[in-house]
Amino acid sequence: MPALRLLNVTKRFGEVKALDDLTFDVKDREYVCILGSTGSGKTTLLRTIAGIIKPDEGEVFIDSVNAGGIAAEDRNAVYVPQTYALFPHMTVLENVAFGPLAKHISRTAAEEVAKNVLRLVRLDKRADAYPNELSGGMQQRVALARGLASGARLLLLDEPLGALDVRLRLELRTELRRIAKESGLTVIHVTHDQEEAMTIGDRILVLRRGRLQQYGTPYHVYNRPEKIFVANFVGNTNFLEAIVETRTREGSTLTLREGLRIRVLDSSFEPDEAVIVAIREEKTQVTPEPTGEEPNRLSGEIVEVHFLGSHIRYVIKLSNGDEIAARVPLKEARTELKHGDWVSVSFDPVNSHVYEYPMLGLQGELEAN
């Protein structure tokens, strides 16, 4: 039974459609990450589920009950905004006990619940502190504890790690998931950080301008991006414009600019159709000279070299003027390669994806978020 179901939900603000005909399910105790850039409707989605705003069209079901007539306070769906919204005039304990008290549970019982939850998030020793005396990470955990103590089944986290520094963010990622799983919660976690979404989510929902782009496991979304937007947003991808030359059941031959030819496994496009080919940067190989066996061999000049710590990233200008980037793990990298070198570039047809040519053109599509 799904814990949450959205059916054709649309929300407009004036002319802008913040949510556009969204339909999806979230299973009980599932951890779902909503991934999207600024303005994609992520926060609006959370607030709609929480009952803070009403959708213009469509329905929200919580535990198979239509939540349309249920007020925010009766939904058992706790919203945790990016700022955490801890009540500044209450101590940590009072903040956490607020939910139970609001539901008219006796003070002793409420504080007992609060103390237990604070132990779970390892903040029981700071129960008497005020929010402004805590670090960002601690505040985040208080917000989480407050949600847990209120007896919520559904936790709605809006960029919960957004305000923290990188190291803490990495630490708290796993912590968040652990607590959610231990407490048997269903979580919707909004983020614009693809790595965060992949590490922590059971499933990822990619949102763009209020529309669902793709919904699936991190593995699926990463390896089978269904749209140019998803391929671009999740991971680091090269995009090349091409025209289908021939197609067989096993795949197609495409022509890049200046007549360069490549093979792909996709055979869903007609000959002469304009398409976009996407290849992950880390699936692109660079060698000083062609070995003669690699598929899809192209050649070009290294125009940029970026040292990324664990990887080296080369940007290569192909003989036809297109640019392609390759990420090579440090231990496999040929350190003698440098700016200005003429190199051979190749990729396996298995690792390429082909998309319909976008209406806005490639650049237009990549720039529109």
């Binding site: 925010a72 700022t83 609001a102």
Partner: protein, 546 residues
Amino acid sequence: MANRLLGSIMVRFDRLSSHRVSRRAVYVLAVVFLVSFILLPPILGITFKLNLAAEVLSNSDLLRRAEASIFWSFTIALSVATLDLLAGLPFAWYIARGKSRWISILDALADIPFVIPTVALGFSTLLFWGNTGPISVLGISVAPGLILVLLLHFTFSFPVVVRVMVGELLAYNTVYETAAKTLGARTFTIARTVTLPLLRPGLIAAFLLAFARSLSETGATVIVAGGFENGPVFIKNAQDAGLQGPMVLVSFTLIISSVTVFALIRLLGNRLKIPINRVYPGPEARLSSSRSVNTRNGLTLLIFGFFVLIPAIYITFPAATALTDGTLQRAISGTGIWSSFWQSMTLSYTIAVLVTLINIGLGLPVAILIARKRLGRLLTTLLDAIVNVPIVVPSVALGVSLGIFWRSFGFLPEFWILVFAHMTITYTYFVQAMAAAIEGIPEEMEETARTLGSKPLHVFRKIIVPLTKYSFLSGAILVFTRSVDETGAATAVSQTLKTAPVLLVSWVKHQVPATQSDIALGISFLVLTSFVSLLVLRLIVYRGKK
């Protein structure tokens, strides 16, 4: 037991607040109150009797006086607000940015003319500049009339500008100034091209407040006006002479024109550009030198001391005499004119308590509507404008209209007419203070509390009220002190019942045989109670901060 009972009642109310209908009912009630008690009476009252104004139009002498009085009202208000800004801005700058340890004292002193009831301020100014005043030894004295009115208005409106601008400067992020400094600009250039343009909304607000105060003030102006008439003085004189027509005409004109002028300044003020295209390195470097700054600060302090502070507190001297010459004994025993004084004080404070309670209860929902823009942007702007009308329109004009309106209900006792008039005059203060405070609380905080299972009323009790309690208190005390202090509207409305300020004006104008000591002492009692309420506020805020 009682606690549990109260608890269960609260639970019931909390539950009730979850229903859209009951929440709406509260808002509707508050808006109905706003419309029927604050908005409509001043508009309807004056239109009831507009036909009386026609008789003035045929009397050229009266008409000329009426026109002149309105002209002077606006001329004085505009010049005083401009002077306030010129003198008040450097003073505010000094308080906000100065490093001297005397600054906090100076800051408190700047508030004094603000909290002294205007009747007291009027009498104090009259004595200070009068021919027995301290500077008469230099051969300088200012007789009642236009100049004295100007001096008085400068005294009481200066602190308004200082208060607003200090707040703005303290809230202003100095990172822009630092950036400008590292780009090589001098302090004066920075102030002119970076800080002031960014503080423009504050400057406009300060100007408007000073302008409104000057336009509206009645009690003190009547005391120092002599034969001179601005709008409020004209209305008061017309009332004393029993001339209803001129009173209605000038009130009507003042109401319409003040609302128009305000709307114009609001609209055009935002288009006003502070010239920043050019920089004058030489002169501005000289103006930034420490010598120029010291000269400017010295001059500013001198203006403050001589034109604001000393005239405002000069009243203490005759009041001190009253302690020893037997006046105090007569006052305490309540003999002669003092029996009516204590009746008036009781009346003033009874009205103030009632007005404060009503305005809190019915102002709160409106403050929420405004702060949270519950009615959409257009209606919120309209609501906000309506709420501001009572402080924009001269209170005496408002009083004339309110008096006409409420007296048309023959069954209403005068006491309630006075209460209603004070309610209208003071309505703005609490709503404004609370709307600003609620706006300062992120809406997310309320939303999160709701998703934690808290009903709307519960959110209000547990989150909004605790977080806004200081604004709540200061708003309430502002309503209270303004109500006690109110002279213009009370003068216009009162027939047999006299509030303390109205009574004191009649003492000063020698409509009742009162000695200088009587007047000074009577005024001191009013000042004292005003100070006590301010002290209570400061104490509560201080304890809260601790």
